[in-house]
């Protein structure tokens, strides 16, 4: 209990209230023909308070059709028990967050607020005087709704009375006039501008395969469910004249997550080694170490190429044993953890300290960033030996880990994982008839039991399923993120 109110520190942080109002008129119509052809049409108009009056009303719609092939053509057989085709088109509108159409001021925003656009080094009131400053972001008074158009084609096939079921979906989604924050040069008066710009296309395949290899009359059943997802999110365009938008400012000399036309969403731009026209790294003839490029490059794409998950379930009487293995293919991670393990030489990966190594590449000129040519006019392959001890950490730069170009601390985060095993037991109902309990279930579970990320340093035993910046736009960065956990659990569930 708080006995003395004056001892309470008032919370002056990010408190605020916001109000939004959205009205919608909606219509939904389903038509069926002979139980095998179905058509669904919807239409909707929204009126949103968060958009300027001239743009606040917007209409969108969808149409989808499904066709049961087995019923239409009388194809039903023991092997093919059900076959369905789906096709759909949808357009969806979205409004903005509240209060993004009118510029506002920030009152008394000083150093300790830690916010972008605050006065640095001092707090308000200063000398008893309050302060007011423009916010760091400017808003667009002509904001429009953003729209996403999607085409989806899918099929659902059932074989042998449900012993094998395949669900396949392809989708292609284009989002346009996206409402987002665009960085501006501070000389404009603001560091960013919230407006409509750019378009992003998401396309991919989702597949689900259910197999029941064994189903016995005594109640034993073995189920295998395989899920496959593949998504490509490509930035199609940005505002005119904008080559790149920074998603988040990371500190000096670290990779920056950006969006660029033609690239995947959220790729990392960072420092890289200078290379010749054939992609060979340029090596400084004085040190035998790499020469950093003066220009930053796209060095990592944190988006996985596909994810595959297989769930096996065995059931017998009251027992259920289930296990999930998943595999994530591709997706890069910029990892400080590994950079420092190598740079400080604390894992077995760098144990041969006195062994000479040669960095692959060709000799180059550190000033012109051009390869040096030998007497025959050809580039000269590097043969300069460097001690393993000096390879991973150089105060002056040029190493392969600490103070190296960012690209050397990027690893392919493909990982296979035993995600979960659970063993459950449900007490037979017959034992419970005379008790007040309806059901009693006991479940033992273990999560994240084993993983293998083959592309990381072997002895780091590193789990790439970490991210310093959580689940937001900024992916693929590990600044000493806390390692993943293995978890064991016992769960008793009783119903009355």
């Amino acid at each position: 209990m708080i006995t003395n109110v004056s001892t309470v520190t008032p919370n002056t942080g990010n408190t605020g209230m916001s109000k939004r109002r959205l009205y919608a008129a909606f219509t939904d119509m389903t038509l069926g023909y002979k139980d095998f052809l179905f058509l669904n049409l919807t239409g909707r108009n929204d009126w949103s308070s968060t958009l300027p009056a001239s743009n606040r009303s917007y209409f969108y719609y969808s149409g989808s059709a499904s066709f049961v092939l087995t019923d239409a053509f009388n194809l039903k057989s023991k092997a093919l028990s059900n076959a369905k085709l789906r096709i759909g088109y949808a357009k969806v509108g979205r409004d903005a967050d509240p209060y993004q159409t009118l510029n506002t001021f920030r009152i008394n925003l000083g150093e300790s607020s830690g916010q972008t656009g605050s006065t640095r080094y001092n707090d308000y009131p200063f000398n008893g005087q309050p302060g007011a400053s423009v916010a760091s972001s400017a808003f667009d008074p002509n904001l429009k709704p953003e729209f996403t158009k999607e085409v989806e084609i899918g099929t659902n096939l059932e074989f042998f009375g449900g012993r094998a079921v395949l669900d396949l979906t392809y989708y292609n989604r284009l989002s346009t006039d996206i409402i987002a924050r665009r960085s501006l040069p501070q000389s404009s008066g603001f560091s960013s501008f919230v407006t409509n710009f750019g378009s992003i296309r998401n396309s991919g395949v989702e597949a689900g395969l259910t197999l029941v290899p064994i189903q016995l009359s005594n109640g034993f059943k073995w189920d295998i469910f395989t899920a496959y997802t593949q998504n490509r999110n490509i930035v199609e365009s940005l505002a005119d004249g904008v080559e790149e938008v920074t998603l988040r400012n990371i500190f000096t000399n670290q990779p920056t997550p950006v969006v660029r036309p033609g690239e995947w969403f959220g790729v990392l731009r960072g420092t890289a080694v200078a290379r010749d026209a054939n992609g060979n790294a340029l090596i400084n003839p004085n040190t035998g170490l790499t020469i950093p490029d003066t220009k930053q490059k796209i060095i990592a794409n944190p988006n996985p190429k596909f994810i595959l998950a297989v769930t096996n379930t065995l059931k017998y009487k009251g027992f259920t044993l289930s296990g999930v293995v998943d595999y994530r293919h591709g997706g890069d991670l910029y990892s400080w953890t590994n950079q420092f393990l190598l740079g400080r030489g604390v894992t077995q990966d760098t144990e041969d300290r006195e062994m000479p190594k040669v960095v692959a590449g060709v000799l180059g000129d550190a000033n012109t960033l051009q390869p040096l040519l030998g007497g025959d006019g050809q580039p000269i392959p590097n043969t300069i030996q460097v001690l393993e001890n000096n390879l991973w950490f150089q105060a002056a730069g040029g190493s392969l880990a600490i103070n190296a170009p960012n690209e050397f601390s990027v690893w392919d985060a493909s990982v296979v994982r035993l995600r979960e095993i659970t063993l459950g037991y449900a007490l037979p109902k017959s034992l419970l008839t005379k008790t007040p309990f309806g059901a009693i279930n006991l479940t033992l579970s273990g999560r994240n039991l084993w993983f293998l990320a083959p592309n990381f340093p072997k002895h780091a035993n590193f789990d790439p399923e970490v991210n310093t910046f959580g689940n937001g736009n900024t992916q693929g960065i590990d600044f000493f993120a806390a390692p993943s956990v293995r978890r064991f659990g016992v769960n008793l569930s009783v119903t009355f």
Partner: protein
């Protein structure tokens, strides 16, 4: 009930709803942050930002300059007479100065409207002082198109030698504005001189 009447009734209801909606949707004014503030707050904020950007604290330009001039020693690349565009004090000062100038531009506009010419004058002189240092440090900087409340989103860079003469004009305008009668004048909200701003106007001039 007669079906026609029914239709009219429901259409009427729907129309009423829509009309009601239109009124109720005008709620997009931020209750947490004001869209207008008084001149005193803007002046204090801008002055503090400018002083910190020029001063010797971590976000200030005097930080690397002091190292260059051997007034301070630091374990940094400044100690080897090096500075890059990514150095913290440089990027911070750049951003904070242009934000301060945005606040001063807003202050000048609002003080002119309210005929508080003393504020206009002080803001003009502060702006001139800030730009003179920016030209000294960076050379060519955005000036004519700078800090326009993002009306110009990508301001062009002006030549340092073209900016300097315009600063003297700005100072003269400032001195003239301070001399005018003004319902409100900076007092304790002015962190630098308080009331005697003509001195401030003359001192940056050669």
């Amino acid at each position: 009930m007669n079906p026609t009447i029914k239709i009219i009734k429901y259409t009427g209801l729907l129309t009423m709803l829509l009309v009601l909606n239109a009124c109720n949707l005008d709620i997009n004014t931020d209750p947490n942050n004001p869209s207008a503030v008084n001149s005193a707050q803007l002046l204090t904020n801008a002055q503090l930002d400018i002083v910190n950007s020029l001063g010797a604290g971590p976000p200030g330009l005097a930080n690397p300059a002091g190292v260059f001039a051997h007034q301070v020693t630091q374990r940094s690349n400044n100690d080897q007479y090096a500075i890059t565009g990514q150095d913290f004090s440089g990027t911070q000062a750049w951003a904070n100065l242009y934000r301060a100038i945005q606040n001063l531009n807003g202050l000048i506009e609002q003080a002119n409207t309210n005929q508080n010419f003393a504020y206009t004058g002080v803001a003009q002189i502060m702006k001139a002082v800030a730009f003179s240092y920016m030209v000294d440090v960076w050379g060519d900087v955005p000036f004519t198109e700078a800090s326009t409340a993002a009306k110009v989103q990508f301001p062009k860079f002006d030549k340092g030698q073209d900016i300097y003469p315009q600063l003297f004009t700005l100072i003269d305008e400032g001195i003239a504005n301070i001399a005018k009668t003004s319902p409100l004048s900076p007092r304790t909200d002015d962190l630098i001189y308080g009331e005697t701003w003509c001195v401030g106007g003359n001192s940056p001039k050669p």
